[in-house]
């Protein structure tokens, strides 16, 4: 019997290895981009073939941004990474030497083809009357947000809350107090943004979800989406999810050309329009104007101007012993 099984396994192995000859591209991405990239990949393939190339098989992997960066460092052979924040892609340079230090200068707008921000998703009719960040620290309000250690979105959430408190109270100590209070209202930290959305939307836990704007719009679009409303706070952060070619992997696999074309296409008008249709804020001014009505106008701080970039914010807030550890352990 075992011999027959071995034969079967060998056969299946041969089948599995069969179609590997065509060029493949692996895009390792973060949680909420599933819908964006399944649409974009099809469009890119059409564009790529129209230029006289063979079709390329585009593989997708999704998960919490930090976790995904870790997997690429540990040997997941991504040709391109499209993660939630620059800090995670920096790790590819620091820990794995997979990309050069100046990776962010290689593409326009600091390698960020689309942006987003952090908004609130509340239950229909907003029963807890949540209008701004102050309402999140009130007793009895349950806030759903993922774990900043593993999720990029969660780190944007954290910084948006921090930015608000810092502006309002004018001191770091007060900001820390405010954010600590906010996290006392968090009953569960999922590892990724999508996990938190499922916790809030499907499992009906919590009063307010801190979410990527694109993720919040998407939740409204899904089945049962009319049970929720989006609330835009008075101030938030410009979330900039960057993209990069993973040099070490593309050079080994000989996929640099298609990988670079893939990322360039994100900046094309069609790429920008697909991003906007999936509720990401496009960089291209013409496309942005076209979709202007879709996005609430709110005051947005930036990571570079207000936090000194991820190089400074990551160690200060999120590394071991950083601000997040101190406030979360204190509970």
């Amino acid at each position: 019997m075992s011999i027959r099984r071995f034969a079967l396994a060998a056969l299946a192995g041969a089948l599995l290895a069969g179609p590997a000859a065509a060029q493949t591209l692996l895009n390792v991405s973060y949680d909420p981009t599933r819908e964006l990239y399944s649409e974009f990949n099809a469009a890119f393939n059409k564009h790529w073939q129209a230029q006289g190339n063979d079709a390329v098989t585009i593989q997708q992997s999704h998960g919490g941004s930090g976790k995904q960066a870790r997997a690429v460092i540990d040997g997941l052979r991504a040709d391109v990474v499209t993660l939630a924040l620059a800090g995670d892609i920096d790790e590819l340079y620091k820990l794995g030497k997979l990309i050069p230090e100046n990776w962010q200068e290689r593409l326009p707008q600091a390698s960020t083809p689309y942006t987003s921000t952090i908004v609130f998703l509340v239950r229909k009719g907003n029963p807890k009357g949540i209008e701004d960040w102050d309402d999140l620290v009130k007793p009895g309000v349950e806030v759903i947000t993922p774990n900043p250690k593993t999720s990029g979105g969660a780190r944007w959430n954290f910084l948006a809350a921090w930015a608000y408190a810092q502006q309002k109270f004018g001191s770091e100590a007060k900001a820390q107090e405010f954010v600590a209070k906010l996290y006392q209202n968090v009953p569960v930290l999922d590892t990724g943004a999508r996990g938190s959305t499922i916790t809030f939307v499907n499992n009906q836990i919590g009063d307010v979800l801190l979410a990527w704007e694109n993720e919040a719009f998407l939740a409204l679009k899904e089945e049962g989406g009319n049970n929720f409303e989006i609330v835009a706070p008075s101030l938030s952060i410009l979330a900039e999810p960057p993209v990069a070619v993973v040099d070490k992997n593309v050079d080994k696999k000989g996929t640099r050309e298609v990988a670079e074309a893939y990322l360039d296409y994100l900046y094309s008008e069609e790429g920008q329009r697909i991003a906007a249709q999936n509720f990401y804020r496009p960089r291209n001014p013409a496309v942005a104007a076209e979709f202007a009505e879709q996005f609430p106008a709110l005051k947005l701080l930036t990571i570079d101007q207000d936090f000194g970039g991820w190089q400074a914010a990551q160690p200060k807030f999120f590394n071991d012993g950083g601000v997040f550890d101190r406030i979360y352990q204190a509970q």
């Binding site: 075992s2 099984r5 071995f6 079967l8 396994a9 299946a12 192995g13 089948l15 599995l16 692996l26 949680d31 599933r34 819908e35 593989q59 997708q60 992997s61 999704h62 998960g63 997997a71 460092i73 540990d74 040997g75 997941l76 052979r77 820990l95 794995g96 999508r194 996990g195 499922i198 899904e222 089945e223 080994k252």
Partner: protein, 290 residues
């Protein structure tokens, strides 16, 4: 005198009636618990899967990514179970037929995967074979991919299913002792002859039982495989991982359809298990009559 017997038997009757009541309550309770915690969730899975009709259900199962997840799962089972079969027989043979130092330690260590969390099992392989791991550099130089590919998934599956075959065989083979094998040897049988004609018939049904349990676990493993999978859609997602992905994409019907496919495979395995178990029992009863 007769009145005393009468009261005695009456009280015995009362006691029996009390026992009967207790027995019925226990049986009822067991059935209720079974239906509430096992049957109901399974029915919910099936109900959700069929919510939008048979067409959607079949569509979700025959979708390309689901099929590739099925293929990968069967492949991982097809490789890891035979290997575990070999290991299980060898380990049980050593433990039951030979005397050596450290034997009880070995028996304890075989159970290690039962007590180690699957997440750790997965991480161990990342630490060993990942790009930053112990053998990472060497593997990269030779262009060998272990974690985030099929070999890693098979290794993780092997780890969590290691004890199943050995655990089934060890007590049986210890009970049977070495006499029959010794007799075969004295009558001039070679090693393989002895194993095939004497040992194998004795352990065959327990072996099948172990393989069945091992396959069930290999098919359903989530934690360890999740760590080493890399989650590449259509390539390194096994069925359980694919179910999670579909669920996270708000694709409930598809998630539950694929889940019921897993369920179907599990039921099939359960039938196999029942069948091999009854064969073991018949064999044991036969041995008792001799």
């Amino acid at each position: 005198m007769s009145s005393i017997t009468l009261t005695a038997s009456a009280s015995a009757n009362a006691a029996r009636r009390g026992n009967l009541l207790g027995r019925r309550l226990l049986i009822l309770g067991t059935w209720l618990a079974f239906m509430l915690f096992l049957l109901l969730p399974l029915l919910v899975v099936l109900g959700e899967a069929l919510k939008q009709g048979l067409g959607t259900f079949l569509g979700a199962i025959f979708e390309a990514d689901a099929l590739s997840a099925l293929k990968l799962t069967l492949l991982a089972v097809g490789i890891s179970v035979p290997l575990n079969l070999l290991f299980g027989v060898a380990a049980a043979w050593c433990v039951s037929k030979y005397q050596f130092r450290g034997k009880s330690l070995l028996v304890t260590l075989i159970d290690l995967p039962f007590s180690v969390s699957p997440v750790i099992a997965g991480l161990v392989y990342v630490l060993l074979f990942g790009a930053q791991g112990l053998f990472g550099e060497w593997l990269q130089e030779h262009d060998i991919q272990i974690v985030f590919a099929l070999p890693g998934i098979v290794l993780a599956t092997l780890f969590v299913t290691l004890p199943f075959v050995a655990r089934e065989l060890i007590p049986l083979m210890q009970e049977q002792g070495t006499q029959e094998e010794e007799a075969a040897r004295l009558l001039g049988a070679g090693g393989w002859q002895m194993f095939w004609h004497v040992t194998r018939p004795n352990i065959q049904w327990a072996l099948i039982y172990g393989v069945v349990l091992c396959s069930a676990r290999a098919m359903g493993e989530f934690g360890a495989v999740s760590v080493v999978s890399g989650h590449i859609r259509g390539y390194t997602n096994t069925l359980p991982l694919h179910v999670e992905i579909l669920y996270n994409e708000y694709n409930h019907v598809a998630a539950f359809s694929v889940a019921s496919l897993l369920l179907l495979l599990a039921l099939l395995i359960l039938l196999l298990k029942q069948w091999s178990e009854s064969r073991i029992n018949r064999l044991k009863a036969g041995a008792g009559e001799e």
